[in-house]
């Protein structure tokens, strides 16, 4: 038996024929898909920073009991002990690859914002030494130079964008004074890109203290990582907690999971709305073509072919809406956002787009099922008598 289904062209042309109805359903589907993909991409953006931050061979050395750099305090005497701990890798000049750092969250504002008394964002300020660039692999200057004098600062790429396009030569205000940006650095998407980096000594002077927050060290032999981690933790000469740097940043992943969850929920709810709109449209399409369908049945087409063509129309509209939705979502790729001091970029992955399309087709399928069933159950004689 030849094709028992109605040709695709029939479904396609019917979709085009009901312009307004199709457009409305299409828009609803597009909005659902777009919101879903954008939210998942937000989660991915946060996740990416969390996952990519930290070098697998780095250890973060904090003071005992501190669970973050903010609450960690290492006194000056402990620094050389940590820096000269055996097992630390050495740089080209023979110096230990140990980045001594002081972290402080400050309210950072552009100079003009200060005049307008606008609130600034709480941004991490990291006081570092030149070895920071070696320990935090992937970080390097993309514009300007390293700070030479007090008052000169470096700014991460993402933070620069977040603050509205800050560049070399611009000034920022924090900790009661004005600082000049002399360089912009990038760090392969790691969290450092949302920070301000200054000379360690400058920050210590600004905050009037000689303590530091942490020392990040690179271990020479990765296979002995657990060994060195333990040795340092148990050491009697310094009271420290030691963590693997990637683990330390992985905690940020928590935020991304919230967004993932929210994205699924919102996408689902909006999808339900789109299903309602789609079902209405498809029922309307059916009621306008009852006689036509009766005729097709009279001509020999079976119940299922009539039902299937209506279902195909619904899925078609869903699919088109999905395409529009993912196109709109793509606009947001690379969009800079910040959450609680963490600046990141929205990341639209092909997989997310695929999921969006699946959502769209599901909407079309579910929305078209009941009307398709009604179409299949039409009785020929009554249908032919219909207006």
């Amino acid at each position: 038996m030849a094709q028992a289904t109605l040709p695709f062209a029939y479904a396609w042309r019917n979709v085009l024929a009901r312009k307004l109805s199709t457009a409305v359903t299409l828009l609803c589907v597009a909005v659902s898909v777009m919101v879903y993909v954008v939210m998942i991409s937000t989660a991915d953006g946060i996740e990416r920073v969390a996952v990519s931050s930290g070098h697998p061979h780095n250890l973060v050395v904090l003071s005992t009991g501190a669970n973050s750099a903010e609450s960690s305090r290492l006194a000056p005497p402990s620094i050389p002990v940590i820096r000269h701990f055996p097992g630390i890798a050495r740089g080209n000049n023979g110096e230990p690859l140990a980045s001594v750092e002081l972290l402080s969250a400050q309210e950072v504002r552009r100079v003009d914002a200060v005049e307008n008394d606008e609130a600034g964002r709480f941004t991490p300020i990291r006081g570092v030494t030149p070895s920071a660039f070696q320990v935090h692999s992937g970080s390097h200057l993309v514009a300007g130079r390293l700070p030479r004098e007090p008052g000169e600062i470096l700014i991460g790429r993402l933070l620069a964008r977040e603050l509205g396009g800050v560049g070399v030569g611009d000034s920022l205000s924090f900790a009661e004074r004005v600082h000049r940006v002399v360089g912009v650095f990038e760090a392969r998407g790691q969290i450092f890109e949302s920070e301000v980096w200054v000379e360690l000594a400058s920050l210590q002077a600004m905050l009037d203290q000689r303590d530091v927050s942490q020392v990040v060290i690179r271990v020479a032999d990765p296979s002995r990582l657990p060994e060195w981690k333990e040795a340092l933790s148990e050491s009697r000469r310094v009271q420290v907690d030691v963590r693997l740097e990637p683990d330390y940043y992985a905690d940020m992943g928590r935020g991304s999971r919230a967004f993932s969850y929210l994205g699924n929920l919102v996408g689902f709810l909006l999808g339900l709305g789109a299903i309602a709109a789609g079902m209405n449209s498809t029922y309307a399409a059916l009621s306008g073509r009852v006689r036509e369908m009766g005729t097709l049945r009279a001509l020999g087409f079976g119940r299922s072919s009539v039902g299937l063509t209506l279902l195909a129309e619904s899925c078609l509209i869903g699919g088109l809406g999905g395409l529009l939705g993912i196109l709109l979502a793509l606009f947001f790729d690379g969009f800079a956002m910040s959450l609680m001091g963490l600046a990141f970029e929205l990341r639209v992955r092909p997989a997310s787009l695929g999921e969006g399309l699946v959502l769209a087709l599901a909407i079309g399928l579910v929305g078209g099922l009941l009307p398709a069933r009604s179409a299949a159950r039409l009785e020929i004689v009554e249908a032919l008598r219909h207006a």
């Binding site: 038996m1 005729t295 009279a298 032919l384």
Partner: protein, 227 residues
């Protein structure tokens, strides 16, 4: 030779709750090959119901309905679909064309269920359109055709499967005088020169005049026959 359509003791009823409402009662009818029969009668007389039964669109309650020797009253749904596709051509009052398909594609629809190639379909469709004289308009959609043209497309669709029988339900009901005449002339031609058997339901006496035989129904029964 057996008649094309042999109906005996046909009964069709509908059920309203518990009570039976008969629409056709104890009907006997024979239609020979090549005949042009008009079914007439007041509204409610059951003429449309009779047509639906002959078309295989409905099943009789009781009685025998044989078309070309087959007892179609006992066929199952699927088989009936198939039989209808091959054996019956339909002409409706409101043409019942698909608005989103061109004239050509409309005529092609019944053939989509056949296991033939695209080329063969095209040949048959073109032939049918030629017969009704609408080859030049074959790419137009129904919305771009006049009522008379649309009905002729419908007739082409009815012919394209080379059916045993063409059933027409008020074919001139929606047409003005001139177009009605044209359509009826076409049907006459197909009957006389082409040997196609027609059964037509109508209340238009002019249409009936074209037929070779007029059968009258009243309250579900045959009351009169005239040639």
């Amino acid at each position: 030779m057996t008649a094309l359509v042999e109906i005996s003791s046909l009964r069709k009823s509908y059920w309203r709750g518990e009570s039976e409402v008969p629409v056709l009662a104890d009907l006997d009818l024979r239609v020979e090959r090549g005949e042009f029969v008009a079914l007439m009668g007041p509204s409610g007389s059951g003429k449309s119901t009779l047509l639906n039964l002959i078309a295989g669109l409905d099943q009789p309650t009781e009685g025998s309905l044989r078309i070309a020797g087959h007892e179609i009253g006992s066929l199952g749904d699927r088989a009936l679909d198939r039989w209808r596709n091959r054996s019956i051509g339909f002409v409706f009052q409101f043409y019942n064309l698909v608005p989103v398909l061109s004239a050509f594609e409309n005529v092609e629809v019944p053939l989509l269920l056949w296991p033939i190639s695209r080329e063969e379909r095209t040949l048959r469709v073109a032939a049918a359109l030629r017969v009704v004289g609408l080859v030049e308009r074959m790419d137009h959609r129904p919305g771009e055709l006049s009522g008379g043209e649309q009905q002729r497309v419908a007739i082409a669709r009815a012919l394209v499967t080379d059916p045993l029988l063409v059933l027409a339900d008020e074919p001139t009901g929606d047409l003005d005088e001139r177009n009605a005449d044209e359509v009826l002339a076409l049907m006459q031609l197909l009957n006389r020169a082409g040997g196609k058997t027609f059964v037509m339901v109508t209340h238009d006496p002019r249409a009936a005049a074209q037929a070779g035989r007029i059968v009258r129904l009243e309250k579900g029964r045959l009351v009169d026959e005239a040639a």
